[in-house]
Every structure is written in C-alpha cells, then in structure tokens.
Symmetry: C2
Subunit: 744 residues, 2 copies
C-alpha cells in the first residue's frame, strides 16, 4: 500500500487520450447562448459613443452588453488594485480591450452582430516604453503611469561601491511573453437573482468567487465557480479574468452564455511582464560580492493585475541566491498601452535571474574566475537566515549547482571553450541559479469520504491544470489512509462542492493541499480506530491501520465492516476534514515562505556561427523536491518548466508596433516544439525528506523555468565570447551579435 | 434568528415559477444520444428471436441494446429480490416490459428504429387474479406466483372467535393505482471503463449507486448518481428503476444516452399494489375487539420490487391502531402479468386501512355504537408498547381522532344521518384511523460549510422531490447555527458530492437528515466557540452563539472574523459533519420505528343519489408532527396526501383486460384536480414537541393518505346506508350500489 515515490500513471490519462475529458468549450448548459466580444482596435482612446441598435435588431441576437449596463454592480476588479473594468467605461487602454459583448443563439450570429456595433473613439497618445512612461511629461495610461514601486534596501551601497575593487553595471531586457496554454480562456456564466454559477478556466476559483460576489452583490454561498478539465494555466488563468464580463452578459441576456476566447483574444487578456533591469554590483578581487543596486522596470501593461506582486518578487529575486551586505533595489511596475501583464510561472523570477545570473558570468569572466567557482563563493548556505524575518534557507543551492555543473561536464575552474576552432559550430557550457521564496499561503481545506465498500472520494479544491495534482493528492490520501490508489476518486475545483483552497499556483498544492488531504485522511483513520476499539472492545492504542484493515495483534477488521457496524447496514460513510492554516501544526506554516524553491540549470549548447542557430545537446535542471511523491510527474513538471524557459530564451516575444500587437498566433509567435527539445533533457531531483509538506515533500514546477535564459546566454558567451543582454536569443540576434563582434 | 415554526417560502420557488429549474429532461451532456425502449406488446411470452440488423442500419442509430449485450454484467436487480432484468432475457412478464433499446442521434430516429426491430414471441397464459394465481394449477409468472408471504400471529384466534359475542367477516378490494407524479422517469447515463455517472429521477440515489456498482462491476467511488430538480416521486422513483437499462445502453453506444419515459411508459414501470383483504374480527357486545384474522392478497405484478416489504407492512397495518390479544394475519405478495408494484406513499397502509376501518364501521353499526365511540374503546394509548419489542407508542391517536370528529361535527354517540329526506343530496360523516410505524432508518450523514462571509452551504443527500426538504433542512441549520435563513444554500442529492443518506421516503428526512444537519451545524458551532476562546483568551464555557456572533458577556465577534483570524486572511472556511446512526445519541434511534405516524381523517360528504357523485364539503386530516418546522409546508404535504388519498378513493384505477393496460393516460385515468378539492380541506397539527427529530420534530407526509378511503366510504354509509367494499367510489359504482340497495 506504499504509494509515495511511485510513478503511478495519471488519473485523467484515459479521459484525455480518449477525448472524454470535457472542457468548458464542450459543456452545454440548458438555454445557453453564445457570446463574442467587440474589442478596441486602438491602443489608447476615449470612447465617445457606442451604438448597439443595429446589432440588437439582428435576428438571433439576445443582448448586447456595454458600459450602459453597469448599474447596480461594480465593474472594477484586479488582483491587487481594482483598476480594470470588465468592459470599457471612459476609455480604452490597450488594443483588444473589450468594449461591448454580444449574446446570440449561435456564434456566427454573435460574430455578425459585432460588425453592427458602432463605436466612436478619440485617439490618445500611445505609451509603450516603460522608462519614458515615468518621465512625467506625457500622457498617462491611468492617473499616473507608475502602477507600483517596491524594493529593498539595507547596508550602504554607495559606500560599498566606493570600497569595492570592481563595480559592474549592465542593463538587460526581457521580452513580453505569452503563456500559450493549450486552452484559451473560456467561461459559461448563468446569472439569476438568486446567484451565479460559472464554469470557467480558472486556476483560483475561490478568488473568482470572492470577486464575483463583491462585484454583483451576492454572498459567497450564492456564487459557484466550477472548473472542469482545464488545458493549462501557467498563471494565465490566475485570479479573475473573463468571468465578470460573461456574468454581466448573462445578466443582460437573462440566460446562460458562453464566451470562449480565440488564441488571439487570449494574447490580449494576459501576458508576462517585459522587463528592463539595470544591475550594478560591487565585487572584491577574490570574487566576493559586496553590494548590489538594481533598477527594474516591469511593463505591466494597461492594468495592474498582480503587477505590484510581480514587481516586489522581481526585486527580491534579482538578489539571486547570494549573500548581500549592501542592497538597494527599486522595482517599478509601469503602465503601458498593451495587454495587461500578470502571473506567469515563477512571477518576476526569470526576468530577474536573466539579469542577475548573466552579470555573474560577466563578473567571473572579468575576474578570471570560473562560473561555478564565483557562485559557490557567494551562495547562501542551507540553514542561513539570509532574508531577515523569513524562514531560514531549507534548500541547498551549492549542492544543486555542483550537480548541474557536473552533469554537463563543467569543472570548478575556468576552462574556456575552444573558441579558436575553425569549425562553424562552437560549443559552450553555462550555469544559472536562483532561489525563490514561494508565495504559497497556508490556506487549504479538504474533505475525505470513506465509503462502505472501503473506497474513497477526496474533495480538494486544487485546480487540475494538467500538473497532475489529482493523482498526487490521491497518492497522499492512499498512503495516509492505507487504501489502494485505484480505490480513490478525486473531486476538484468546484466552489459549490469542495471546501476552500486559496489558489493553484506558487508550487503550493502538493505541500498545502497535500497537508489538508493528509489531515482529512487522518481524521477518517482516527474514526476507524474509534470504531475498531468498540468492535474489539479494546483501547485504541492497541490498534493501527494498514492495507485497508484495522489491525490488533493478529486480528483485523476491514474498514467497510466497521462502517456497516456503525450504520447497522451496508450503508453510511465516514467523513474527515483537513485544515491548513498558519496557526495549525504548532505554527509550522506561520513562517514565510513555506519553503524555498531553487531554480538551477546548466546548459551545454552548440552555436552555428554561420546562422546564429543555438542547439542544446544537453540541458540539466535541478529541483529540490523534499520527496518526489510521483517521480515521473515531478520530472514532467520540471521538464515542462525547462522547455517553457527555453521558449523565452530562444524564440518567444510578443511584438508591438504603435500599440498594435503584431503576432498573436502560432505562426508568428514561435513556441518550442518537440523538435526543439534538447537531445538530453534532464531533471535531477534532490530528495532530503525535509519539506514541510506530506511525507517531507516540497513543491516544484516553477524553479525549472528560472535559470534557462542565463544558462544558455552564459554558454553562448563561453562558446563565442559574445555577450547578449536582450532576449530572445533568436538566430538573427545571435548572428548579428557575432557579426558585430567580428567586425570590432 | 428563530426560524423553527416559521412558514418561510420555498427556496426553489423562484427557479420553479420562472422555469429556470432544470430537470433531467432539460440537461445536455456533451455527446449525448437519445434512447427509446422497445416494449413487449404481450403480457406473458417467451422471447424467441430478436432481430436488430435493420434497426442498426438506419442512419443515425448508434446502438441497439438487447439481451445479447449482457456479458460481463449482472442484469438482475430488485429492492428485495433480484428477480427483474433491466431488459428481457428469457421471457416477458408484462405488457410494456423492455425488450430492446435504441440509442440514436435524435429521438425521431430512435423511435423510427424501434419499428425495425423484429421480435418473435411464444405467447403464454396470462396470470391476472391473485387468488387464482396461488391455486397451484396453472401457469406461473416466475417459478412460483407467490412472491412472498409474511404475517403476524399471537394469541389464539380460533378460540377467541369461539368466545366472541360476534364475528364479522368482510372482503374489501383496493385498485391498482399509479403515482402520477408530474415528471415521468428520466435518466441520462454516461458509462466509461472508469466509472458511471447517472443523472436520474431517483428518490434513493445512494441505493441506485449500490445497485449500479454491483451490476456493472464498479466500486462505490466510481459511480455517481446525480438528481437534479425532480418533479414528484411518491415512491415511484424509490430504489432502482430505469437506471441500469440506460447505463447498459450507454455502454453499448460508447456515449452518454438519455432515456425519458412518456407517461404511458411510466405507467408500465411501477404502480401501487392492488389488494384483496378479507378481515374477520371477533367482538364483544360492548364493542371491544378480541380477535382479528386477515388474509391479504397483494398484486405485486411481474416483479417483486419491494412487494415483500409492502406485504409485511400491510400485515401490520391491517391491525389498525387497536389493541389485539389474538391475531392471525397472512399477507401474500402475488406475482401477476402486470406492471410491477412497489413503494407508494405509506406502503401497504391505504389498502389495509381501507379494509380495517371500513369493517370497524360495519361492526359499530351492527352493535349500535357510534364510529367514534367504538374506536375510542379499542384504540391503543400513548406510551403503550402495543407491538412487542418495538418503540412504545409516541403518538396519541385518541386525541387526534376526537379532533377530527369534532371538526366535522361528529359526536361520540351514534347519530344516524337523515336518510329519510326526500332530497336527492344526502349528507354523511365518516372517520378513518390508522397508525404507521415509519420505515425510517437511522442512516444519514451531512456536511455544513461555513464560509468566511458568515454564510453557509449545507450538503444533505435528501432528494428534493417537491416536498420542500431543502427549505426545512436549511431552517434546521439556520436555527442550530444561528445564521439567517437567507444566508444558507443547500446542495442535495448527488452521490458524488454529498455524503451518504439512505433514502428519501418513509417520512424520514426531517427527522433523520434533520438530525444529521443539526449535528453538522453543531460541529461548526463548536469550532467557532474554540476559535472564539482563542480570540477572547477565555474558557469556552463563557461563550455562546447567537445571531451570527459568538457572544461573551457584552463582547462579541462575528463568525467570519474568527475564520479570518484562523486562516490569516479573508479566506478559508469551517466544516462540520453530522452522523445519524442507530448507535449514536445514546441509542435513541436504535429502536424501531423511529416514530409512529398517525393517519386520521374525517370526511363530511354529500352524495347525489341520482348520479352517484360524491362531493366533500369538509375534509379533515390530523397529523402529529411533534413540531411543525415550516407549518405551511407541513400543511401542504398533508393536504397533498389527503388529495392523493381522495384520488384512489373516488377516481383512480388502472384497468387491465387480458393483461393489456387500457388507460395509461390522463384522459382515461382520472386524478383529482383543483375542481375536486373539498370546499374545506383542513389539516390539523398536533405539536407536542416530542418527536425524535430536531427541535422535537417528527416526520409527516404519509399519514394523510391512509384514512381517506374509509372515512369517505363510512360517510357514504352514514348518508345512504349503503356499504361499498370496492374502490374507487366512482359515480357509476355508487349509483349501482344505491340502485341495488333500493331494489332490495
């Protein structure tokens, strides 16, 4: 009955490969209409008039939603600042912002009706550069262009720079990228005077419930957010997105409505923050870091979403996994006229690590040190309280970094690659390393039902977004309750039927929801022991649970038999509750972060100097998982993160021109395919059984994306001597850099 | 915050009057097909060949189910005996038995395909008379025609009859009647290798789950039975009915399928047992009863369903609410070639009360006693242990009977009506009285969720069949948890999401599920007190819950604030569990029945002697409810039961000829309409706060149907001197009886 550490196949595998899995786009709600959104063609404009009469006259059109339908509700929402109306009110702030929405009997009619809506705009100047935006001399997206400023400061960087042997200053840019999960956003909303039911592609259904209740004037028990199968999130479906618009459309239509976005519309819904990071680092001759000052500009787009949190996290992460006595970090989230930016796998980290870890190699090269050598000299150590007031480091970055370096054949000392070879293909090795304090709140609850046949249903509000949470949580229940894995079913995200879970993200589910499930399973087990004590007429201490039986010396009784005894028939069931709160577990979870997640990568690359094409024969990611509850799924998560990181490293970039997004599709926006897989893509897992989660587990899933870009860029430098400070490392950009370097 | 005793409007009222309420027939499951059933035209025949090739060739037909598709599953089911295959195997046993089923892309195609299925039958003799059926000299429906025999015997009836001053023997018949709930049976089934989901019009979804798991080889966690809005049950949707057939059809089709029965098909699915009861009673000159011997034949139709339970219950109930020293009751459930009979509001009781209570008036008349007088002389009294080993009588029939008699102006002494009047309209008053030990098992569980805004969701597996259970259970939660009624939502029958409840029937839900909900609410309250003890830093004993607050002297804290404190944010929730088992509550529920339900009625009628038409100016039903949690709903339930009773009293009868059902529709089978309402239809409620349920409640809903027929027939006798022993009392039957009497 031991299931921990076993790579049990996914629970939903069969449903998915047979096409039985029903997504929001597959559902039919009785009386459902189909909705389409009219989006602003302009990136920045005052909305003067909206004419909907013609559209309303089109046969089959049931309702048109505009800003004129907002009476009695609050149209504003936002994860941190409530600055985003679900439909344009006074002006539009990015190309693609919803201005009106149509509900009709079918999609074709709804689309036709869009053309009949007349909108008159007054164009405004476009804000697109984050540095210029803060110069206080032009137009603003909101009342100001500074959405949020946060940072860290301790010690005295000015003094430290003065005393340092060397000071390095470099500026790095990171592109706007899009999550490109398989399924774009889709919502069915059913509004009535008594409440709202929503089927949505939502990672955080309980937070959506909270927003909808507030915006539409309901209590929490009246709002139900159901998440059926969901085709990937990566943060793009965090917090509230499309839901309020569809609820309002259902309200004006008086019927349920579905709106399912196209890929282009999803590109115009959410993206990752582009970043411009200037990093100034003071270093002594021996390579020890003494001070770091950074200025970060994050492009948060037209609305804040969780930009302030991203800015804050980038500020923390740009310090890297290093010890600093003097720090001054300023991180600005800046409004521009573009798609709003929000959560994306390891918020703020890839941008910060790109800058920080690229510069570490610049410094190492200047000082004649090896990339591994300079890092080991400055890395924080396990047990160190390197962020004041936060949990002491529970990960071991040095060990992880050594593993990664060894895997790709990089030694401690500097060993420059053979750059003199006449061959057009050059080889290089590079490292990247970062530490993330996960934003994992201790707020999960769960219910376990033990049926009279000894089988189990687990209620856990974690959204299954493809990460395999259902299987892992079932493994935890199986182990704790000693019931075979295949005797367990999972019920996931439906706020109407599963108890509260804060969110699915921040690598938190295995740890936080895992503990809740374990707690609920334990409460069931305790009741079985109580019933067995009556059955055997013995003290509970003599009893234990094993293999679906309660054991007493050489006697045993099956779980189901105990339930039958209690209910007097083959009937009834036992219920267990699990709570995870900061106060429980002797305050074990009160400290933040719940755990530290390392993001370590090592890349061995080949550059074709004639074309600028980078190929990656060997890529290693190291994850500290505490315990791998399902090793194959852990690897899958980490490999996915690596590949997504290689995407923004090599290919991905949303291109804007005059506020117009030029490439919102798979033809013009390239994501990695199987052809781009490193020949040897490897995840190495550290299992020290020291995580705060069940059976010593920690989370994973974010660390793998963090260090992809710097490890490849550092390898590129090792291979060619060329340092590129802007992503992505497209063949064109690499080829131009090589050409420019050769010309010098 | 006191909600007990308040007639709060129904929770589902708005959904129902606006048409938002979605029934099984309204749902759409992705990929769903539509099914139709080919039914046997013959009442009794061997099925020789079934040809489906032509049907399968019809474009749009996806699958045809026959007995050839039963490999790997067990097609037999039945509430007591598993004698019913969901599709004919060797032979058909009643006209309308399913022989094949088609799944097609639409209903029209499925119907067309039925005509293309060729079935070859060998006709067998038809068994239709229950007495002849047991003569052991003819054909049999199953291996025998005696489905079940049960009974009671104590004392020595032979001796007692010999010593009695008078012995009366009469035979009464009760017709086959159909429940005629608004919604016929409907099922959507979705079968996969991993489990089954069924949306069904099921009163007992957890029992259906058990059957489906067994029949199709799944574990309980793999089978989900969902009951959406349901348009009435009255027992017709008890136990498993249409579900296995539709699951099997989905299995062969490889897609979800819906089968929604027509009214005619529902008539051919289930009905109430027709009965023939011979009652022999020994009486002394003063009217005291000394012995009763009865022979009951119940027509259980082609399959047992719960016929054995009905037979047993009829055997008990034919003893009435009287004390007997000598008893011999034999009750036979007899197979015939007709629609199977099963549960129907107060199983076995209307049939038994019809016989018993009619004869009581025959005896009274013969001895010159008043109907009230003879009953009061023989009634059992509150506190009496009148059924050995069972719960002592917790109801007070004498008080109830006096209330009923007084209401219609009947005095203790015999006061014959003025039968000599020359007017064609004659007036009479009659009583009926019975006691039902409810079949209410102590097997319910519930969950209560308290959200962070202080509102509540209650999970209770009671099926809302129109009886108003959701509202009553919400009132119980409201009172116990001290949360306003309108802050509570209910989640009901869905075995996948609500915890176990045995069944919805037997007047059990307010008592049994009510206690479970109360227990779950109390567990939440206890946690609030714990959290408040931390909040105030005081012992829990100083705290109490009132009006959504935890109170300590003159301080208080809101529920939501305590949850926020625990979870460290506006997040989380508290969970409570409620268990009702025979063992809990100090064994309070171990004794059977959970409570005794009286069925007392008094009717004042007018007979038009020229036409035989009976009108009822005044009808009184008395219900002992312990406490009326929602008085209006209690009245509604009891009035509905009265009217349903008046239906089988005056109009209803399924008519068979040669095994063919002649009147399966609303034109030929008359049910009461509003025009048939008694001018004064009254329910009087006894509230002694002495029930075993929450706040002293008992169940109700069945008692009202029991005594309708005898009270009217007894009034008819009072009015005309004519005693009719066969139901229904149609104008034709009454007119013939009057004519025959006048001819004598």
């Amino acid at each position: 009955m031991d299931t921990i550490g076993k790579s049990i196949p996914r629970i939903d595998a069969l449903d998915k490969v047979t096409g039985r899995a029903a997504y929001v786009g597959d559902l039919e709600v009785p009386g459902m209409l189909h909705g389409k959104i009219l989006r602003s063609p302009l990136p920045h404009a005052v909305v003067k008039e909206i004419g909907v009469k013609k559209a309303l006259k089109l046969p089959g059109v049931v309702a048109v939603l505009t800003r004129d339908d907002l009476e009695g509700l609050d149209p504003f929402y936002g994860a941190v600042l409530r600055d985003r109306p679900f439909i344009a009110t006074d002006k539009v702030r990015y190309q693609g912002e919803p201005v009106a929405a149509v509900a009709a009997v079918d999609l074709a009619t709804a689309e036709e009706a869009l053309d009949l809506i007349q909108v008159e705009y007054d164009e405004l100047p476009v804000i697109s550069d984050t540095v210029e935006a803060l110069m206080d001399d032009g137009a603003t997206v909101h009342e100001t262009n500074l959405c949020n400023q946060s940072g860290y400061e301790w010690g005295d960087v000015t003094d430290a720079f003065a005393k340092a042997d060397h000071v390095f200053e470099d500026t790095f840019t990171f592109p706007m990228v899009y999550h490109y999960s398989m399924e774009p956003h889709a919502v069915i909303a059913d509004y009535s005077n008594q409440g709202i039911t929503v089927w949505s592609t939502a990672q955080h259904p309980f937070l959506v419930r909270e927003d909808l209740a507030r915006m539409f004037g309901f209590q929490l028990h009246q709002v139900r957010v159901v998440v059926p199968y969901l085709g990937g999130g990566f943060g793009s479906k965090s917090y509230t997105k499309l839901e309020p618009l569809v609820v309002a459309l259902s309200k004006v239509a008086g019927r349920p409505v579905r709106v399912a976005l196209t890929v282009e519309e999803a590109f115009k819904t959410i993206r990752r923050h582009a970043a411009r990071c200037t990093v100034k680092t003071g270093v002594m001759n021996d390579g020890s870091f003494v001070a770091r000052e950074c200025l970060i500009h994050l492009d948060t787009g037209a609305y804040a979403d969780n930009g302030p949190l991203v800015a804050n996290r980038a500020a923390e992460r740009i310090m890297g996994a290093y010890r600093w006595d003097n720090v001054k970090i300023t991180s600005n989230a800046v409004y521009t006229n573009s798609t709003p930016a929000g959560s994306f796998r390891s918020i703020g980290a890839p941008q910060a690590a790109w800058a920080s870890e690229s510069q570490v190699d610049i410094i190492a090269d200047a000082l004649g040190l090896g990339p591994l050598e300079i890092r080991l000299k400055n890395l924080v150590e396990k047990g160190e309280e390197f962020r004041p007031g936060r949990r002491a480091l529970d990960a071991d970055p040095a060990t992880g970094l050594r593993m990664a370096a060894q895997a790709i054949g990089m030694s401690l000392d500097k060993e420059p690659e053979d750059q003199g070879s006449a061959l057009p293909i050059k080889t290089g090795r590079g490292l990247g390393c970062n530490l993330s304090g996960v934003g994992s709140s201790a707020t999960s609850t769960a219910i376990v039902r033990l049926h009279v046949d000894g089988t189990v249903t687990v209620f856990a509000g974690t959204t299954e977004i493809g990460q395999g949470s259902r299987g892992v949580l079932a493994q935890i229940a199986s182990q704790e309750l000693q019931v075979p894995f295949e005797h367990i079913s999972m019920v996931s995200s439906d706020t109407g039927v599963v108890p509260y879970d804060r969110s699915t993200g921040s690598s938190r589910s295995t740890t936080m929801m895992g503990l809740a499930v374990q707690g609920a399973a334990k409460e069931v087990k305790d009741q079985l022991i109580e019933l067995a004590a009556l059955h055997f007429d013995c003290p509970p201490e003599e009893l234990s649970a094993q293999g679906g039986l309660i054991i007493r010396a050489d006697e045993s009784v099956a779980y189901g038999a105990l339930i039958e005894e209690e209910f007097g028939a083959r009937a009834g069931e036992l219920l267990g509750r699990g709570y995870v709160t900061p106060r429980r577990d002797n305050g074990r979870l009160r400290q933040s972060p719940a755990f530290w997640e390392i993001g370590i990568a090592a890349a061995k690359i080949e550059v074709d100097t004639k074309t600028g094409v980078i190929r990656i024969p060997h890529y290693v990611s190291v994850a500290d998982v505490g315990v791998a509850i399902n090793p194959q799924q852990c690897e899958g998560q980490d490999e996915g993160a690596s590949m997504q990181g290689l995407g923004h490293t090599l290919f991905e970039e949303m291109v804007y021109e005059d506020g117009q997004l030029l490439n919102p599709n798979l033809v013009d926006y390239k994501v990695p395919t199987f052809a781009d897989l490193p020949a040897n893509l490897e995840t190495q897992m550290i299992e020290n059984h020291d995580g705060p989660g069940p059976f010593g587990a920690k989370g994973l899933g974010e660390g793998g994306i963090v260090s992809a870009a710097p490890s490849v860029a550092n390898a590129l430098f090792q291979a060619t001597g060329v340092r590129i400070k802007d992503l992505p490392l497209t063949p064109e950009r690499v080829w131009r850099a090589l050409r420019d370097a050769a010309a010098k």
